[in-house]
């Protein structure tokens, strides 16, 4: 019995040591410029991940590409306008986060609709603009959306229901740095003050 207890303690200690090592490895790895210290809600990737080039369509027909994310800190959220519960909460949260920064430092927020069948043109533009006219909105064909969401560490799927379909989607806020690299993600639930503080820390301010 006591041997088993000792074994459990040793296993726990080993797991803790491995966890410590991994955390340290993440900090010291080549190319790492960000540290998880002091971040309250954000899950950082060990090193920022360059994103692939992509082309989505904005409501006015212009393309949205990786170039639109370069030069600014970005918060990205995927959803759809026929989403009464999660998406309005997230967009309200993103509005609140954005307001906590002076305009010149404010993150750029992009809402990507993963429901292109229903979210095109003015509907998407007005829906997102309702929360903040500065927010970017875009969608695309499912090939483009799947490629980009995967690269962002997000998932969505359309699930048939008795009277149509439902869209299941990740509800994390993704952080993309001014080099167009995936830095981390904030899983729900989101506290605007906490996310804004994490982001300010990542920005190095």
């Amino acid at each position: 019995m006591s041997i088993r207890i000792i074994a459990v303690i040793l296993a726990a200690a080993a797991a803790a040591a491995i966890g410590f090592f991994l955390a340290g490895g993440g900090r010291l790895g080549p190319g790492a410029s960000l540290t998880p210290e002091g971040l309250k809600a954000t899950r950082l990737y060990p090193t920022p991940r360059p994103l692939p080039e992509f082309t989505l369509e904005r409501p006015d027909g212009r393309p949205l590409t990786l170039a639109d994310w370069r030069g600014r800190w970005n918060l990205v959220f995927i959803g759809f306008t026929h989403c009464p519960d999660i998406c309005p909460v997230a967009l309200g949260t993103l509005r609140d986060i954005e307001r906590r920064f002076p305009p010149e430092r404010a993150p750029q927020v992009t809402f990507i609709s993963v429901d292109p069948e229903r979210d095109r043109g003015e509907t998407l533009e007005r829906y997102v603009g309702f929360f903040n006219p500065r927010f970017l909105a875009a969608t695309g064909d499912h090939d483009s959306l799947q490629r980009l969401t995967r690269a962002l560490g997000l998932v969505y799927l359309h699930r048939p229901t008795e009277d149509g379909y439902e869209v299941d989607h990740s509800a994390s806020i993704v952080i993309v740095d001014p080099q167009g690299r995936l830095v981390g993600a904030v899983p729900p639930p989101h506290d605007p003050a906490v996310v804004a503080a994490d982001l300010a820390r990542l920005m190095g301010g």
Partner: protein, 144 residues
């Protein structure tokens, strides 16, 4: 005399009936303000059952919406999903919160745009056939 007995009988009947039929109350009923383009909205509030028997919410309707269903947001494998609930039990003496990220009233096809502060009567239907009209207020943020 016979009349007095009848009155007494009716009174005695009425008292326990009133106690057991104490309706479900909804604390802080609200609808999240949505863009005018939104084809769906969500209604929330704390459903309290002060009665001595369980109550089951089975549906709702309102002139303000094309249809209303009981839905639930839940997380599975890191995905936020939504499912329709055919009923929502509210245990005797207990409460169930309709809240963001949980069970809520899914309000389909608003018949007209609902600005902040609008008051929307919604008829809640329970399994025993009882109905109750609750006025929901459109708000940008949860009450309180």
């Amino acid at each position: 005399m016979r009349l007095l007995a009848l009155i007494a009988f009716l009174l005695l009947r009425a008292i326990p009936a009133a106690a057991s039929e104490e309706g479900v109350t909804v604390e802080g009923p609200w609808i999240r303000l949505a863009p005018p383009e939104a084809r769906v909205m969500a209604g929330y509030g704390l459903l309290r059952n002060p009665g001595s028997s369980d109550r089951v919410l089975v549906g709702a309707e309102s002139e303000a919406f094309g249809a209303i269903e009981i839905h639930e947001t839940y997380e599975q494998d890191g995905l936020m999903r939504m499912r329709r609930l055919s009923e929502l039990p509210i245990p005797a003496g207990g409460a169930v919160a309709l809240k963001p990220g949980g069970p809520h009233l899914m309000l389909f096809r608003p018949s007209k745009p609902l600005p902040e502060g609008a008051e929307v009567p919604i008829r809640l239907r329970f399994s025993e056939g009882e109905e109750q009209v609750v006025v929901f207020t459109v708000r940008a943020e949860p009450p309180g």
